[in-house]
């Protein structure tokens, strides 16, 4: 026994392997115990009916998943995630690109603008939510107060209380919080675009839109994929800002999959059903990432 261990370490190759594994094992152990194992545990819970308290978790097979298919709340929550992903990607990318092109060739005060645009990125989503909940306050909030002050009383709305406006209003708050991130990344990408190509396009008489479409955007392809990955992950996972502003209301108008899962598992104590929702969320995340990776591979030559 000891002899074989001694031999193992005497063999240089095996000893190198042992060192390499020793580098990896601490991280691997943490990861397996607190991420991988819980994930399989979630799958198991999703096959049971459990209130989080009873000693017995009743195994019900795929029953929870059958109920999910008919659950109108789930579908409305998923559609809100989808809206978040679309608006929450297009808006900051468009703004970031627009500002990036404006600042591209260097402008006085460049550092100032960059510092300001990035400022909200360091805030927690919770803080962003609290700030904008105040901005949207119907009675005294700055938005409605400003509208009333300039005589546009008709436009003063109950932003977060209107089922049609609430979700876009929260998305606007979210975009305020992270468009600066997109802007900075796009700026970094623009630095890598070959100036001579632009100049050549200018000589060929290309107008601004053509230059943007044929030279700048292809040059930023890699950066734009990265940003979209980031906003996609954000759109699938969004929780904090919604929990702070509306908690999914009015009615169901701003519920997303994460708020619905939290509500079901922790507030209503439907732990089994909540786990099934969590698995749906995991699947959505997986499918989205997979689609994205394959687009990237195809585009990456």
């Amino acid at each position: 026994m000891f002899e074989s261990i001694r031999q193992f370490f005497a063999d240089r190759k095996l000893r190198d392997y042992a060192t390499a594994y020793a580098f990896v094992i601490p991280a691997l152990a943490m990861y397996v115990i607190f991420v991988v194992y819980p994930f399989f545990y979630t799958i198991y819970l999703s096959l049971t009916k459990w209130d989080g308290a009873k000693p017995v978790k009743e195994f019900v097979g795929l029953l929870n998943y059958q109920q999910l298919v008919a659950d109108s709340r789930l579908w409305s929550a998923l559609s809100h995630n989808f809206i978040w992903i679309v608006l929450g990607t297009v808006a900051p990318v468009a703004i970031g690109l627009f500002l990036g092109v404006l600042l591209w060739r260097g402008v006085r005060g460049m550092v100032f603008f960059r510092t300001v645009y990035f400022l909200p990125v360091v805030l927690a989503p919770v803080a962003v939510g609290i700030i904008w909940k105040w901005m949207y306050n119907p009675q005294f909030g700055p938005i409605n107060s400003t509208l009333r002050a300039v005589g546009l009383d008709v436009l003063a709305k109950g932003w977060l209380g209107d089922p049609y406006l609430a979700l876009p209003a929260i998305i606007l708050a979210g975009v305020w919080g992270y468009f600066g991130f997109c802007f900075v990344v796009i700026m970094a990408g623009l630095q890598n675009i070959d100036m001579e190509q632009i100049d050549a396009a200018l000589v060929d008489g290309a107008n601004g839109a053509q230059r943007l479409w044929y030279v700048i955007i292809p040059g930023l392809r890699h950066v734009l994929t990265m940003i979209t990955t980031f906003t996609l992950i954000l759109g699938v996972n969004v929780f904090d800002i919604i929990w702070i502003t509306t908690r999914g209301g009015p009615g169901r108008a701003t519920h997303v999959i994460a708020t619905y899962t939290y509500n079901t598992a922790f507030r209503e104590s439907y732990v089994g059903y909540g786990s099934a929702l969590a698995i749906v969320m995991g699947l959505v995340s997986l499918v989205v990432s997979f689609i994205f990776i394959s687009i990237r591979e195809r585009g990456g030559d």
Binding site: D16, Y17, T19, A20, F23, V24, A27, M30, Y31, I33, F34, V35, V36, Y37, P38, F39, I95, F98, L99, L102, L103, R105, V107, F113, T115, V116, Y117, V121, V122, L123, A124, P125, V126, A127, I130, I131, W134, M135, F140, G141, P142, S145, W176, G180, F181, V185, L202, V223, I227, F230, N237, F239, D240, I257, T261, A265, S275, G282, S285, L286
Partner: protein
Amino acid sequence: MANAMTIRPRRPMGFWIAKGAQYGILILFAVFVLMPFMWVVFTALKSNLEIAQEPLGLPPNWRFENLAQAWNQGKFSRYFVNSVIVTVPIVMLVVSLSCLAGYALARLRMPGRMLIFYFFLVGLMVPFTAIMIPLFYILRDIGVLGTYWAMILPQTAISLPFGIFFMRAFFSGLPYDLTDAAKIDGCNDFGVFRRVMLPLAGPAIAALIVFNFMGSWNAFLLPLIYLQSDKLRPVMTGMMFFTTRWGPDYSMSMAGTLIVMAPIMAVYLVFQRQFIQGLTAGAVRG
């Protein structure tokens, strides 16, 4: 060389209009970003009566005592201490474990290396929500609920896939002749890692520190579920409980928000280059 310099002087008027429009737009967006902050400060320093009478303008009396009152009522000193107590070990653990594993997965030979790497990569796609429910029972059963570890352990674990991905990409990019030279000098693998590789990884580690510091400082759902006692509560959930509790008392809830926001913004303004690099590191590099 038909560049912009030769074109511009031809239409001076158009140039100045374009320049003005350019600055106009840039300033407009800066205002869009800054106005909400301004109103948080104004609201925090008014009384509730002043808010009702004059919601938009400057505070008629700058009531800095609101901040002191919110600080005392909100137990923010305790919340800040708690945030530091959980954030420091999380960042240290994530950075050290990611460096070790990232290095091994980039540079050392071992059977199943790519398999292990892909195994970690899958973790990038698992949202926290997908594991939050059983994690509660796991943390309870190992007896860490009710201690800071209830946040430190899971937050570290969910941050590892990105950290490893990031550090592996960094170490892969370093030239091989460096390590070969060190090996000839008789360094073993750990020696190479510690003496040659780590010193070069300074900027990458700094970025990873910023990224994880922000991630755990700003975390909300995780402490909402696992750190519920008021004694352990970090600032983000602390601020949420505070503002909800003081609901219609807008000056108090904005004062609380300002107390939580101000330090991180101040640090950002001082170290803005490091912040921007750290927070965009994944996107720019990856």
